[in-house]
Symmetry: C2
Subunit: 679 residues, 2 copies
Amino acid sequence: MVRWGGVGLGLACLMAGPGMAAETKLDLMPWPASLTVSDGRLIVDAGFKVAVTGHADPRVDRAVARFAERLRRQTGYMLASPRIEDVANAGLEVHCEGPADALPSLRMDETYTLEIAPAEAKLKATTPFGVLRGLETFLQLVAWGEDGFFVPTVVIKDRPRFPWRGLLLDSGRHFMPIEVVERTLDGMAAVKMNVLHWHLTDDQGFRIESKRFPKLHEMGSDGAYYTQDQARAIIAYAADRGIRVVPEFDMPGHTTSWLVGHPELGTGPGPYELQRRWGVFEPVLDPSREEVYQFLDGFLGEMATLFPDPYLHVGGDEVEGKPWERSPEISAFKQAHGLKSNHDFEVYFITRVSKIVTGHGKKMMGWDEVLHPDLPRTTILHSWRGPKALGQAVRMGFEGLLSYGYYLDLIFSAATHYAQDPLDKETAALGEAEKARILGGEACMWSEFVSPETIDSRIWPRAAAVAERLWSPADVRDVDDMYRRLEATSRHLAYIGITHRSSYRPMLERLAGPGPLPEALVDLADIVEPLKEYNRPQTMVYTSLTPLNRLVDAARPESDVARRFSRRVDRYLAGPNATDRDALRADLQGWREIKTQLGSALEAPPLREIQPLAADVSALAEAGLEALAYLDKKQTAEAAWWERRAAILKRPERPVHALEIAVLPPIRRLMEAARGPSK
Amino acid sequence: MVRWGGVGLGLACLMAGPGMAAETKLDLMPWPASLTVSDGRLIVDAGFKVAVTGHADPRVDRAVARFAERLRRQTGYMLASPRIEDVANAGLEVHCEGPADALPSLRMDETYTLEIAPAEAKLKATTPFGVLRGLETFLQLVAWGEDGFFVPTVVIKDRPRFPWRGLLLDSGRHFMPIEVVERTLDGMAAVKMNVLHWHLTDDQGFRIESKRFPKLHEMGSDGAYYTQDQARAIIAYAADRGIRVVPEFDMPGHTTSWLVGHPELGTGPGPYELQRRWGVFEPVLDPSREEVYQFLDGFLGEMATLFPDPYLHVGGDEVEGKPWERSPEISAFKQAHGLKSNHDFEVYFITRVSKIVTGHGKKMMGWDEVLHPDLPRTTILHSWRGPKALGQAVRMGFEGLLSYGYYLDLIFSAATHYAQDPLDKETAALGEAEKARILGGEACMWSEFVSPETIDSRIWPRAAAVAERLWSPADVRDVDDMYRRLEATSRHLAYIGITHRSSYRPMLERLAGPGPLPEALVDLADIVEPLKEYNRPQTMVYTSLTPLNRLVDAARPESDVARRFSRRVDRYLAGPNATDRDALRADLQGWREIKTQLGSALEAPPLREIQPLAADVSALAEAGLEALAYLDKKQTAEAAWWERRAAILKRPERPVHALEIAVLPPIRRLMEAARGPSK
């Protein structure tokens, strides 16, 4: 997929959808298909017990044990033996009606109902997978009130809108240790995502052990790869949480790491070295050679056994055709086979790979580029290009998935992702059968700029907004309510072990050096965001070994403080009032002092690069305060003021610190309002 | 041990010891036996490599792999294949001179030398255990400077002062999951502690699986126990870090949990129920019955096989003799055997248990109460009573350990623990051979008031001060320097995965409920401490199921903010100056506003109990500001002012919130100074 061009996603302005019970203030995410709240409470105290009835399944037993542990963490409770046999004494009865396949599958039944009465709750599901979903809902309902913890009395009938709700984890570019994969799965389960798309190979690393071709991982990974035992453990860990694992082996491009150990698969003589830079590279498989298909048959056969899911993703994106054009043998081959373009040549390759995949009993998936009428209709088209391409695929009879709009590495807001629907105006004209072939989507965490320390804060909580888009009814679209629930979900995820919150201050402390963390550094970090789209790599040279330990890595993709400030500015501009004015002033005064308060702390080597940023923030806040004073006095600022101050609104194009000031747009609005209507 | 009376440890005033290279500002803890610093730096960047030479040992290989992972975490680096064969290209050469036993032992050789030059570092150790210690030292030296991360050029020759440097983890009262035990071991290794004293049984729980007597753990644990496989995994995990695991099975008291499944071992007919309260309870083994010894022979034999360390702790503390006195059979038995007191009776019991323990090839340990001349001199006396009792034991020819002064659950300051030395004025008169029998000591984390969520903040960083006392030369005693290094160590421990810092704000967020965490709540939590000694249980009824999720549980045992404020007050009172005055005023002004700023947040049910605390803090800060104003104007406060304000210094005796205001003593000093000399 084109990931280095300018991918622009407009932030659509959303109407509050119908059916949102905003008055309930429940912190559920994703919002359930149907919900009725009444005015009671079921107390959840340290003596809370769970009984399991119906169809016996060890997955349910393990889920209940995890549920108890999660309840401990959320509440700080000591629960003694929470699981009991006696339904009459249970606070929660978990009833599983029937069996399910040994592994989660595309069409697994995730339906559940959760009825909470003042004396007891009952969770009922057709299969163990529904039980998993319902237990997560229960945990999200637990709140601290008058009599300790409780859950409100509700009746929830829930099922997903789309059957495929995935997260792509890119272990290729930066290796992610097992514990990162596990906690990512825990987070996914909490927001009812059900597919881990595991991007296991790329130019920078081949991350899965191959017993058949060990040079792949031995020479292609810097020693950072998953053993097959580890992969099996992850598959089991995911399955226990109702999550499928779909591996991706990207080809014929993005294959430098394969060629380090197996140069004979490429177009040149080699030797090849692992890529340390980011981008699209020339090394590519040679589709003209029969040995390449023999190799792939062996390798994919091995992987087809290791990964039990029926689907296998072969990538197919971003092929750099130049090496093909340079080779006289390949040119001759293309001519002999009537392949006019590189695209034809890639289609030839993918069509053959498709036969290999099918031969091993799997269905193939690929990115937009692989789309071709000759492929079997069991193929899934995975679209980074957007709903139009997706619509084209399903009209051709393929099933499809959307990832356009869900690229977490673009550092867009949750609202941006939330606005993207797999079924939108581009697909509105599709027939019902065609629409049904749109299976859902996947949030994508490409890993150029994430490390094990920072990846959680890049995935979470924003991925939860995608999870809701894919699970909840289409009319659940109220952005303000989404953000309210997203904040609660963010905390909730921390109890699960996601480190997006806990890593924040330690990273700032590392930057600041010994002694107490200057709160002004936190204040600054709270209102900046990493550059969006792919602007960060334009600020300096990044390699796969560049430390990701700077302010830009600590800063959150989306500033809650800025979002709240921005909303308050809008409210104030719509109707000036003292409450908002005072709050805005207090914020601005605080930010104005950041530079002074940081003082010599900015001399610490790791912080020197943000000296201009701190100065900009303080100057911007000063301008904002002046604008607020004009507005408060109902005066229009003189032209000289604007001329003097407008410069601060033009941020350096490519600051090395790679940050933008998230409160700049609302301060700009204040300033523009103070300036009065332009002539 | 008496743990419910008033145990008072005076905070001795310490002289700065000789030999402390205060000018170096290195963050080492424990401080090494010998250290020379020079003016160079060895750069530690993402290309940093480690080579291993000398005696090959898989423990060293695993330690180097962990070292690389730790370096990643501390720095945020991506390290590609840090381990290399080529010494010439290595930033660090790890050289292990010879082998060591399969398991760490009391007399293992932990010596190492670490020489860091600008171009390379060399760590040399006699055994793999010395390598472990030296790698921790290296990691503590890593700092961020001008050219990225580096270590200073040093020559360190290091070895421990005492061979036994333990931490008691009480899994009996509150069960601690495996991950807590593992991260505790990681923390211990980081500060060079080498014995996990695992208190596995107590009145509230029997936490280890017995295959021979399964009713012990099945009926005595609420289902919360370690399987034997888990225990073996912990022993291996500890051994890999050079840490021994010494289990304790406390008897004949503290045995209610044994009697639930095996009432026949007790003095009464039963049935027995697990204790939910805290204290010393009546249920006790019956030493008059031969079956009890047969049972113990079977059980201890099983445990002697499971736990490979030569030592086995049998407790022996706090026996409630009443049930023995009530039984006519026991009275007859005592008379028949010439046992005049309950103490004699216990000695009889312990002497027989000692034979059982010895019979299984182990050496026995016990608390002060077991001391008796008839015991074999291989017995270790573990003293909670203090150096005098310890001196008595070693004079009798026993070896001994000190835990008096190292009870972390008393919530004393690090300085208090740091002041306690196993060799102090009580033992000064001992001969060299007697002194050599004082093996070291153990910090004790009794678990009445800790949960898996809070235990880290109760152990760390204070246990590091004990670790230094037991490792470093006796003259390393500078308290200010200890605190400087303790703060750095606290951060360092967070990178290892200790949750003492990361759990703080989430616990406050849970209390505060939805929305942004009020910073005033953090400000308040920052200057309060849990009640000391055993005053907390006097404020309300606590059971083993009471949630430990309140402000008192989030608050740190020792407030860094209060300590810094207190030092500044002293400096200001010694020589008034504008800098300190302004800083004190800013602090006091901030605290004065806490009540107002918290405002309606204090209406949230979980925070209601701290309403009086917030009011007290604000009033106290107000009084402090007034005192500061008098002092600043060089005026003496009028008597009426003192009369009006002194009331705030008298805190409620037993507040239900169980907190004390840690800045009260320094504010009192300000107020007293403003009042002038009393007449």
